[in-house]
């Protein structure tokens, strides 16, 4: 056996090596990123320390300021997104295609969904897959409605009240005094919906902000 190997030229040895590697490749199972390895302790800490929650008011400020360093993703199905209330500037990426959407692993991704549980499910999947910037809106769409669109203004000082009014007006809502979670009758029922055409002063809340340049390949 050693004699045969010694008698081969370099090229022939390389060919033999390639053949053996090719033979070995018959058993190969390539990784395609579907199976994830989760560090359970790290995930538990991350969930517990609350750093992945973005208060609805903070998100509202980001939208008003026109910040472009985050991406707001709504993980509901396309039908639910079209039919239901939504936060302006949210991009609809249903949960089932979340991993095909080309989100950046270092990008801040704020998640909102049918309810807080749906957003949390998406948060877990993204975090497990290495998207360290994933976060959820604290309280989900309900918090958006109750804290941004129709904030309670009884018992707050004047400056705070003015801010709340300005922010809620920007998104087409109105502040309320007391009462339950129901919006005041006067406010438009579609306050949570798409663009607020009545408020032109800041970049149109419904307009999609320029998505971060993803297509860097194939140029």
């Amino acid at each position: 056996m050693p004699n045969i190997l010694a008698a081969l030229t370099l090229n022939q040895r390389l060919a033999l090596l390639a053949f053996l590697l090719g033979l070995g490749a018959l058993a190969a199972t390539p990784t395609t990123g579907e199976r994830l390895t989760v560090d359970a302790r790290q995930m538990a800490w991350r969930a517990a320390n609350g750093s992945s929650r973005v208060p609805a008011r903070t998100l509202a400020d980001w939208i008003v300021q026109g910040r472009a360093d985050y991406q707001l993703v709504d993980v509901r199905s396309a039908d639910a997104f079209a039919a239901g209330p939504r936060i302006p500037s949210a991009e609809n990426i249903p949960l089932t295609v979340l991993f095909d959407a080309g989100l950046g692993r270092d990008q801040t991704i704020v998640l909102v969904g049918e309810d807080e549980a749906a957003a949390a499910q998406a948060w877990f999947l993204l975090q497990a897959a290495g998207y360290r910037g994933a976060a959820i809106v604290d309280g989900g769409l309900a918090a958006w409605r109750d804290q941004v669109l129709y904030p309670r203004v009884d018992g707050v000082d004047a400056a705070e009240r003015a801010t709340l009014e300005a922010v809620s007006a920007h998104f087409g809502g109105a502040p309320r005094i007391g009462g339950g979670a129901d919006p005041p009758v006067a406010a438009p029922a579609s306050g949570l919906a798409q663009a607020s055409p009545a408020v032109p002063k800041l970049p149109a809340a419904g307009a999609k902000k320029p998505s971060p340049a993803k297509k860097r390949e194939g140029c």
Binding site: L21, A28, T31, T32, R105, G130
Partner: protein
């Protein structure tokens, strides 16, 4: 650590340009060292005198393919994140034929033209100018080419997907093809050499 490194955020797209530059350096170096800075050597491929181009390219394909397979098998490389150029089968066949014709007539292909320019060959410089002129013309006349350019889209499809074969089987098949191709190429070269006598051997031995 997982690869592709860019997709996992190990570095950003600006840094990736630096790596692209370094990889380009390596590629140009390899081309020149393989002798592909010489138009004569490149064109001998088409006259079946010297099949070095075929051998070098196939070697590169097999090396990269085996490397990707094993890295992905070990779990270091996420294969689904590697960029695949979308397949438009008809325009790509047409484009390949045009490129092949230009290759034989001009004596270079784009990469080797740059490599040869680096060694000071004037014909490579002219070829490069033709390259830019052709690219410019294509871009300016794009509306004319668009129907062909976007015909028969198949998406970023792979051979295992298309034939429904397991990934490893395709890898093994390509390795067999490569080894067979090398043996065949060696036979072809020998046949052509003996047919043309010492002239062919002299041309093949030209290392410019």
């Amino acid at each position: 650590m997982m690869a592709p490194l860019l997709k996992y955020g190990v570095f950003g797209s600006e840094t990736s340009l630096v790596f692209a530059f370094l990889i380009g350096l390596g590629f140009g170096f390899a081309l020149e060292r393989a002798g592909f800075g010489s138009a004569r050597k490149l064109v001998s491929q088409f006259y079946l005198n010297d099949l070095a181009v075929f051998k070098v390219m196939f070697t590169a394909i097999v090396t990269a393919m085996l490397g990707v397979t094993y890295l992905s098998w070990v779990g270091v490389l996420n294969l689904s994140l590697v960029y695949l150029v979308p397949t438009f089968i008809l325009p790509q066949i047409v484009g390949g034929l045009v490129l092949g014709a230009g290759f034989v007539v001009g004596g270079y292909c784009p990469g080797t033209a740059l490599a040869a320019t680096a060694t000071g060959r004037l014909d490579a410089v002219v070829y490069g100018l033709g390259l830019y002129a052709g690219t410019f013309l294509f871009a300016e006349l794009y509306p004319v080419f668009k129907p062909l350019h976007t015909a028969t889209p198949m998406g970023p499809i792979t051979i295992p997907q298309y034939f429904g074969l397991p990934y490893g089987v395709v890898v093994f098949a390509v390795v067999l093809m490569a080894i067979g191709g090398f043996a065949g190429a060696g036979w072809v070269e020998k046949t052509m050499a003996s047919r043309r006598g010492t002239d062919a051997a002299a041309i093949a031995a030209t290392r410019e």
